[in-house]
Amino acid sequence: MAAYVHMSFLSNYTVLPKFKGVDDVLARDISPNEPLFSTDFHSFRVINAYSTNTVDHRVHSVSPEVLFPDLGFPLLVLGDLNIHNPLSDPLRHFSRREILSWTPYFEKAAESGFALLNPPGEYTRFPLVGTARPSVIDLSFPNAPLLPLVKSWEASLPSTGSDHIPITITLATPSLNQKPPRPCWADTDWETLDPIVKAFKVPAAPPGPPPCNWRNGCRSRWTGW
């Protein structure tokens, strides 16, 4: 489990103490000098986890409650969770044991307002043994305050020699590209509008205000007093 922090954040991050006796979780609070991407938040937390199978196969070594806390500030949960699930790997055939193993994690994530970033079917682990199939077990979950700041999830960097490929998650100021849909003026319903426009009445203009009112109005509009 390795995590890289951008140089600009190096002087502003804190590694939190051991996480409730769980060895496989590392949490860092990162505090940029300025508010985080023009939001009201001044820091965000990254929880990096390595979760392995336990004896009963129902819950892994890191429990859903530890992984997905219900916090009111930006939080990114990521790591090798060893969970196979149809949201990230839709083409995989799941055993009953696997279904039992991912259900509590995804229920808790949904309950705490987390979203899965992994694009469906994009593998993150390519076993070095040729007989085993690739899988998606490195999962990333931003919570609701962080989700609007997530710009991209990419697995395009070259291999580091591990069977897990490096993943880059980019955070940025919310993009203006997410514009609301615009009216399609070519499809205006003129048949319905025709009688409405014909019946549209414009009231007569009121007589002009006296000069003092007009000046006061202008002054208050532009000076605020």
């Binding site: 300025e34 508010p35 023009s38 940025a172 100021t173 919310p174 993009s175 203006l176 590209n177 849909p181 615009r182 009216p183 399609c184 003026w185 070519a186 499809d187 205006t188 319903d189 003129w190 319905t192 509008l193 025709d194 409405i196 426009v197 014909k198 549209f200 414009v202 009231p203 203009a205 002009g208 205000p209 006296p210 000069p211 007009w214 000046r215 202008c218 509009r221 532009w222």
Partner: protein
């Protein structure tokens, strides 16, 4: 007026569906491809179910046929698009061939947050000017001729349906249709501003789209970006109406010099070039040496002063309602900058004559017309903000002396108007 306009805009938006981006995402798609896709999926399902080499072969050939057909359909669509391409679709073809460049995010030193970037860009594009002096009180002007439906129809006929709309998003085509259904609607909405000589504040808001200038070595300065200002189309209709009235009055009262070209009906770039060429050849015929000094007014539109322009118009005998409308139009404007991550808050700006407006070139021509007066006719010709002084004598040295003498007059007048000639763009041609 603003309330009626808002009510009408709301009605129009209510009866217009939102665009579906997927509708035109595959213009090359054909019904035949839908059949092939269905066949391919059917064959693939059958191959998975029966898992025989024969079925797998059929599924493979279906897949190959489907993808080949997609390739052919794309190629055919591109060829037919090029065959039917018009000069107007040139940029669409470029976009298809090269893709659309992603807008560059401004990264300005000392401006870390979007709010700071917004302020820096606003200061660069709209530098602070003298405060605006408020127009006289609003009162219907009896000398103002009432607005007619013909004026509105003429103004609308000159508007391109593909022109980018302003903050309300309504294109000209919609106003044309509204005017076709009920000409009295726009007449009643636009009449009060004309009669009162007042441009409503609601029509003076604009969107300023910040675009990067291509090929700059660095994008850490606001000068590496330019701005396209978009105002409401209904405002531009009103501006065209006033521009037509103002131009007619200015020509009647001789406020424009006959040697001024550009943005005037019947006096285009071609006319300006032809007149200059004709002048030069006429002077060359008696074997004289001819020299032309080309001058350009620096940031011309931005430096139009509201109070000075009102004085020029008033002294020129322009109707008071037009002078009042122009003063109201130029003052108290606001602009919302649009770039990635922009806060999207409108800010009051002082822009001189706004570059986006159809009336601005006319206002600028009237503003700089005094530069022509006092110079013998035929020596100076101008195209909006570009001036050419042409002289002839027996020697080039004599020409230079004459040009130096002549240049003093427009330069003094320009400084009185608060404008100056750009040294970098000045050219002398013998």
């Amino acid at each position: 007026m603003s309330e009626s306009l808002d009510r009408l805009v709301a009605l129009l938006k209510e009866h217009t569906p939102v665009s579906r981006p997927s509708h035109h995402s595959k213009p090359w798609w054909t019904p035949h491809l839908s059949i092939l896709r269905r066949e391919y999926h059917k064959a693939a399902r059958a191959a998975r179910k029966h898992d025989s080499p024969h079925m797998r072969k059929i599924a493979g050939s279906c897949k190959a046929g489907y993808f080949e057909a997609i390739k052919a359909a794309k190629s055919k669509h591109w060829s037919s698009f090029l065959l039917t391409a018009t000069p107007q679709s040139l940029w669409t073809a470029k976009r298809f061939a090269y893709g659309r460049a992603q807008p560059r995010f401004p990264s300005l030193p000392g401006a870390e947050t979007p709010q700071q970037m917004n302020s820096v860009l606003l200061e660069h594009f709209f530098p602070a000017k003298e405060p605006f002096s408020p127009p006289p009180r609003l009162r219907p002007n009896k000398s103002a001729p009432p607005l007619t439906t013909d004026e509105i129809a003429t103004a609308l006929s000159k508007c391109s349906p593909t022109s980018a709309p302003g903050p309300d998003g309504i294109p000209y085509s919609t106003w044309k249709q509204v005017n076709k259904i009920n000409p009295s609607t726009l007449l009643h909405i636009l009449s009060p501003p004309v009669l009162l000589g007042y441009h409503p504040t609601s029509l003076k808001s604009s969107n300023g789209v910040v675009l990067d200038k291509p090929g700059k070595p660095s994008y850490e300065s606001p000068s590496s970006f330019r701005i396209i200002v978009l105002i409401r189309t209904i405002s531009k209709v009103l501006e065209r109406i006033i521009a037509a009235r103002l131009l007619a009055a200015a020509r009647l009262r001789g406020l424009l010099h006959p040697n001024q070209c550009g943005s005037l009906p019947g006096l285009s770039t071609y006319d300006a070039c032809l007149t200059l060429t004709n002048n030069v050849r006429t002077l060359q015929r008696p074997r004289l040496k001819v020299s032309s000094l080309f001058l350009d007014i620096k940031a011309g539109f931005d430096n139009v002063d509201n109070n000075t322009l009102a004085r020029i118009l008033r002294e020129g005998g322009i109707h008071s309602y037009l002078v009042s409308w122009v003063s109201s139009f130029l003052g108290q404007r606001s602009c919302t900058l649009i770039f990635q991550g922009a806060p999207g808050t409108p800010a009051p700006v002082n822009v001189g004559a706004p570059q986006c407006s159809p009336i601005s070139p006319h206002l600028f021509l009237l503003y700089v017309a005094p530069l022509h007066f006092g110079i013998p006719r035929g020596l100076m010709i101008s195209y909006v903000d570009d001036f050419a002084l042409t002289v002839a004598s027996l020697s080039y040295r004599g020409n230079i002396r004459r040009l130096q003498d002549l240049f003093d007059k427009p330069e003094r007048k320009a400084s009185g108007l608060g404008v100056s000639f750009s040294v970098a763009k000045t050219e002398l041609i013998h």
